[in-house]
Symmetry: C2
Subunit: 418 residues, 2 copies
């Protein structure tokens, strides 16, 4: 098979699909999503059977238990995917919204209207629910989607896409609305990344290797969902009880996520009062601690942290602890070692709170709240397709709005350029 | 010289410069811009002398008159550059603006705050005024700028950058605020394009070749300012006198710009009444006409247009004329041959106006106004750094706001993730 031609053909179909989708009303889109949700539930047996093939294959290959867990589909997870689609139907449709409108001295009215981006390529790994979540959000925002899942989930993804495309067919929508690249060759990804003028945006979701490959080879815009090396800074003017709760939540509530805290920074004037209770609490919860020399002085018997550790995204119950001179040193640490994802200060001081908000350059900056709250649902955006660590177009949780772009519209009555 | 190392060093300086710039108040930034404007005027003799070197070199190389004209600096043009900077000081500072803020059920307040993008690389050709315009806009939006001008303007650009950097020094701002890549090697551009994590955005301004090179090699986000193949569609329900004025303005007022009309589409039911007067007027203004068979039937003695012509950005007094069956055929033509830049309809029909606005997928869509109005000043954005033909981040004229990004800010009082 000529892979280049195959990918190109799929992408052209997607472009036609995007044109059809852009014309649908909210009601039509919601109806399609609702029917997809119902179909997924109805076909759950087939989906689980197909998923079993992937799982057997993964077991034969000796993939880790965690990976196999992420890969697994069961009744509950299929129910959740369907529920996710229904939640998207309930969100307001961003397409056609006029975000501003103003009058110019020459009498013309200029506005900005939200429109679909067009064709969005999603390149992702293992978790088959991404197939449904990404499709739901892209479709609701009027975009066609080209899906390229990982080879380890190929049977599950194919089965899911079959269900979704079947509804597309039944509703007489252009089939290019959902396209699935069903050949395993890596070259297919490379070809996708070159489709300037056909694919409008690529969203990679997966590990560092995948994201690097995509970034280095794409000729089309990419929105990355990269790692989170997140911090909480306990200021000398913090409510220490609140600080303890926030730090504990940020580390322990779900350590495997990108918005979990990896390094706790503590102002030296409160370190002695704060650290012993806090660190005991962490140890009791099974957290492995790594401390800077000053931390070790206050709380011995833990490992000394290395500079390299400060760059790490543990995604696990491991925490770096550093005592700093003041907020400036904390902010310098965050700028140096952080990944500009989610960073928090705990303080009662007004000026420091405002300075931290202004000067820390992260996708979400928190005063007196847990970094774990950096999330589309928590922020009230509805569902999210991920948390963008890029600055361009969308930064932080990406909801439906972020899957659209704007165009200028001009209502004139004969205006000319002088 | 190790070019890779040289570019990396410059970029790291720029990153430090960006940090310093992000902290400046609007007043401080405006003061710097104002002093730069004054310094440019004061140093105009040196600038013109240095510019003469470039012009002599260009003449020796036998560059075209048009190119030499674009390259030339004279008192008037220096005055205009200074005036441009002063205009930027008058624009509102987007940095720190909180664009929305809302309360969540758990009591935390979530908002979006505009912040600088960081380090912006501008890769441009010939016109030395870009050095000043781009720097002014980037600085006001709190961004450090890495400038890479064309080799044909190297002396002029160097002299201008000297003047600007001198003010940076005098005002004790970090020198990385303005960085100039002053080595001619093409490799330097290639290195710039790879600086992920240091350079945040690349804006190429120049011909198709430059933009293609940048897009194909960049690993960082790029905002293109690509070609404009723009249309005016004269509907059967148009006010034909208004249509004549708009079409004439769109083609003739300044044909060398990206928002000038390249193809005029006319509904067949008004073609016979509209075309003869209109086309005579165009010919009188020196426009070379190329017509479709139906146009030739009504107005013989002009060249027949080819399909290839419909894709062309003439940037000149040349116009394609096509008679279409109805608005649907006009919109299909625009989707097929256009570049999604600026497209207009002239009509008195309400439904068609709204459909055209909604369905034509261009950076600016006009009802009853000239495509030539697609411009930052005309739209009221103040100065513009160009007209983005990309969909991601910014589409259409890019002003100060588009040179910022947003981050989420959260004001809490102890909120945790449940």
């Amino acid at each position: 098979m000529d892979i280049k031609e195959y990918v190109m053909r799929k992408a052209r179909e997607a472009k036609e699909g995007a044109k059809a989708l852009a014309k649908l009303s909210s009601k039509e889109k919601n109806n399609i999503l609702q029917r997809m949700a119902e179909a997924l539930k109805k076909k759950r047996k087939t989906l689980i059977e197909e998923n079993q093939k992937d799982i057997q294959c993964a077991e034969q290959k000796g993939l880790s238990k965690a990976l196999i867990d992420r890969l697994t589909l069961n009744e509950k997870r299929i129910e959740e995917m369907a529920k996710g689609l229904m939640e998207v139907t309930a969100l307001p449709d961003p397409v056609g919204e006029i975000t501003k409108m103003w009058k110019r001295p020459n009498g013309m009215t200029v506005g900005k209207m939200r429109v679909p981006i067009g064709v969005i390529g999603i390149i992702y790994e293992s978790r088959p629910n991404v197939t449904v979540d990404a499709t739901g959000l892209c479709l609701k925002a009027g975009n066609a989607v080209i899906l390229r899942g990982g080879s380890e989930a190929i049977n599950s993804n194919k089965a899911i896409v079959d269900v979704l495309r079947n509804i597309v067919k039944e509703e007489a929508l252009h089939e290019g609305a959902i396209t699935f690249i069903d050949i395993p060759e890596r070259e297919a990804v490379m070809e996708m990344l070159k489709l300037e003028g056909i694919v409008d945006l690529i969203i990679p979701r997966g590990g560092e290797g995948l994201i690097r490959t995509v970034t280095e080879n794409a000729r089309i815009p990419v929105l990355k969902h990269y790692k989170g090396v997140c911090h909480v800074f306990v200021d000398r003017d913090a409510d220490l009880i609140m600080a303890e709760e926030i730090c504990f939540n940020a580390k322990v509530q779900r350590p495997g996520t990108c918005n979990a805290m990896e390094t706790m920074l503590v102002d030296e004037s409160v370190a002695e009062g704060f650290l012993p209770t806090m660190l005991k609490k962490f140890e009791k919860a099974g957290v492995t601690l790594k401390g800077c020399p000053k931390t070790l002085f206050i709380y011995p018997n833990i490992v000394e942290v290395t500079e390299e550790d400060y760059y790490k995204e543990y995604l696990d119950l491991i925490l770096n602890v550093r005592v700093v001179k003041d907020m400036d040193e904390a902010m310098a640490h965050i700028a140096q070692y952080g990944s500009s994802h989610s960073d928090a200060i705990v303080t009662k001081d007004y000026d420091k709170a405002l300075r931290f908000l202004k000067e820390v350059d992260s996708s979400a900056v928190f005063v007196n709240a847990s970094t774990r709250l950096n999330d589309g649902y928590q922020f009230g955006l509805g569902a999210e397709i991920g948390i963008s660590t890029d600055k361009i177009h969308s930064r932080g949780p990406m909801g439906l709005e972020e899957l659209t772009c704007t165009k200028f519209i001009v209502l004139g009555n004969g205006q000319l350029r002088e």
